[in-house]
């Protein structure tokens, strides 16, 4: 019965992703007809396939970034036994953006930016955890407050650098702050993939432990989990995922918060099912959100973070009302 529920959730997530990908390839500044794209002959068909092939890297990057953020959010929620945990709210995304922005301002190669973002994400995680620690333990209330402080700090840093920067640097800063998938290239997709795969693999290996953490840290300890080392590893893996996502797409909120909730409603809270379903649903959400950001006010583009918030906030409110 439960296997059926998981299979159903997985199938639904895959179907959503497929729909989102088709939508993502067809819409944008120019709307393509599916008929032209698949069966079109002559100039119309060629144009459609050319435009779609130009959009493909952007769709792929959106999918990967969505995966990373959703999986990081799901793992953090279980680890901290807190449905509000999310790489954005905990300040991890802000740290990552600040790290990547500093690397960009310092004139380092864009290839270093994931490493810089990862370093920023880790730095922020460590600082937030240190602020939240009381009596040798991570206090959850304090954790969220510490995340708030970190976010305020990092956005101040980003704004300060933005205000003194000029030209290209200012545009780059804006990219980190607002989040964007506009600069997608096949190279970026290939560069992000290994980070995503590594973080996901580690977290899936910890799915059993995360199930015990979701009932409580003491629960995990009493059942034989080495709590401190597990926390470090899960924090590192989710910082890696967040850092990589931010390095290639800037700060995009709500994905890590919203997707695990929706996935949990579909398949329950067993992390062995929740992490993969969140990954696929996260990909679907961000591909769809990016397509909307390109087409809603074409030729102008909305920041994709504004779209995720606009989709996410009402659904989140609905989830909250439905599960008191």
């Amino acid at each position: 019965m439960r296997a059926k529920r998981v299979a159903g959730g997985l199938a639904a997530a895959i179907a959503l992703l497929a729909i989102a990908v088709v939508f993502g390839l067809l819409t944008g500044g120019v709307h393509l007809s599916p008929v032209d794209l698949v069966a079109g002959v002559g100039p119309a068909g060629e144009t459609a396939r050319l435009v779609a092939s130009l959009r493909a890297p952007r769709v792929a990057l959106s999918a990967l970034v969505g995966c990373c953020l959703a999986v990081a959010g799901a793992a953090l929620q279980a680890l901290l036994k807190n449905p509000l945990a999310d790489p954005f709210l905990l300040g991890t995304s802000g740290g990552a953006a600040a790290g990547a922005a500093f690397a960009a301002v310092a004139g380092l190669s864009p290839l270093v930016s994931p490493a810089a973002a990862f370093a920023g994400a880790i730095g922020s995680s460590v600082a937030v955890a240190a602020l939240a620690r009381r009596g040798g333990r991570l206090d959850l209330q304090r954790l969220l407050l510490a995340g708030l402080i970190a976010n305020a700090f990092f956005s101040a840093v980003l704004l300060a650098v933005f205000s003194v920067a000029s030209g290209q640097t200012a545009r780059t800063m804006l990219f980190w702050m607002m989040g964007s998938l506009a600069d997608a290239t096949p190279g970026k997709v290939l560069a992000l993939a290994p980070y995503g795969a590594a973080g996901f693999a580690v977290l899936v290996a910890f799915a059993g432990r995360l199930n015990l953490f979701a009932v409580g840290e003491e629960n995990a300890a009493a059942l034989g989990v080495d709590v401190e080392s597990s926390k470090r590893i899960v924090f590192l893996a989710s910082s890696l995922l967040t850092g990589a996502a931010v390095a290639f797409a800037g700060i995009i909120g709500f994905v890590g918060l919203l997707v695990p909730h929706a996935a949990r409603a579909a398949v329950g809270n067993d992390q062995r099912a929740l992490l993969p379903v969140s990954a696929i649903a996260g990909a679907a959400l961000l591909v769809a959100a990016d397509a909307v950001s390109r087409s809603a006010f074409a030729p102008a583009e909305l920041p994709v973070g504004a779209v995720t918030a606009a989709i996410g906030a009402p659904i989140f409110a609905w989830l909250l009302l439905r599960n008191p």
Binding site: A205, A207, N211, V215, A221, L223, R264, G268, N269
Partner: protein, 261 residues
């Protein structure tokens, strides 16, 4: 009787607040030991140190004469089951899955759901009268039902040592008796060693082989219920006066009352 668990000069604290302060106590194999003492005397902390939730600040706990900290965590989790006083469930979880968590220390990757694990979990739920709740969301159960699900989990864990933190609080009379019966049966049939924290003095007197009275993080007295649950000892431990009466079944009862001024 051989000593299974021993605390030597054990201390532990939460931040700057000391909870255990040089506790010495020995628990024999197969014993049912009741820990009594006023709030904050260190009873629960003692259980939590043995369950390896809270680290010892000084001194040590020995399991069969070897320091507990020297064992792999998973190895002691297979042998020691801990029943918390209360657990707030934030996320939905099927009751059966909660009971299956008792099998986690026995399983690779802490994920247990083989057919054998399921059978053991369901048998444990039957023994605790919660089999009918197996498919229900544990986060929506009543407090008493949740405790019984957690007891089923301790049973499914097949540990030789049970640490029970106020197991009977919040249970209605019938489920309280059934709960105690499950504990007594495990103690008798499986020779489970039980450490029981309770505020029910008469319960301790009835079911415990031995009582340890705690005060300010140390053992004030230990011995048979008859030796320890005396008006003098209880005055020292709790600051109350008490009378010993015999009920119409011939059982010894302790009736505390406020000290007269």
């Amino acid at each position: 009787m051989s000593t299974l668990l021993e605390a030597r000069g054990l201390s532990a604290s939460y931040g700057a607040t000391p909870a255990l302060d040089g506790l010495d106590a020995a628990i024999g194999r197969g014993e049912l030991v009741a820990l009594l003492g006023e709030n904050g005397s260190g009873k629960s902390t003692f259980l939590r140190v043995i369950a390896r939730i809270v680290p010892a600040g000084g001194g040590e706990v020995l399991l069969e004469g070897r320091p507990l900290a020297g064992f792999p965590r998973r190895a002691t989790a297979r042998r020691i089951a801990y029943l918390p006083q209360s657990t707030e469930l934030v996320f939905p979880i099927r009751s059966l899955d909660l009971v299956l968590q008792g099998r986690a220390p026995h399983s690779r990757g802490f994920s247990a759901d083989s057919a054998e694990d399921r059978d053991r979990a369901l048998a444990a739920m039957r023994a605790c009268d919660v089999e009918a709740l197996a498919e229900r969301d544990a986060s929506a159960l009543s407090g008493g039902e949740t405790r019984r699900v957690f007891l089923a989990r301790a049973l499914a864990q097949e540990a030789e040592i049970w640490l029970l933190d106020e197991p009977t609080s919040g249970l209605d009379p019938r489920h309280r008796l059934e709960f105690l019966e499950v504990i007594a049966r495990a103690h008798a049939d499986r020779k489970t060693t039980v450490l029981l924290v309770t505020h029910e003095i008469d319960l301790a007197g009835e079911i415990a082989d031995r009582v340890v009275l705690l005060r300010a993080g140390r053992a004030l007295a230990e011995g048979s219920p008859r030796e320890t649950l005396t008006p003098d000892r209880l005055r020292e431990a709790f600051g109350v006066e008490s009378r010993i009466v015999t009920d119409d079944q011939g059982r010894r009862r302790v009736v505390p009352y406020a000290p007269s001024r």
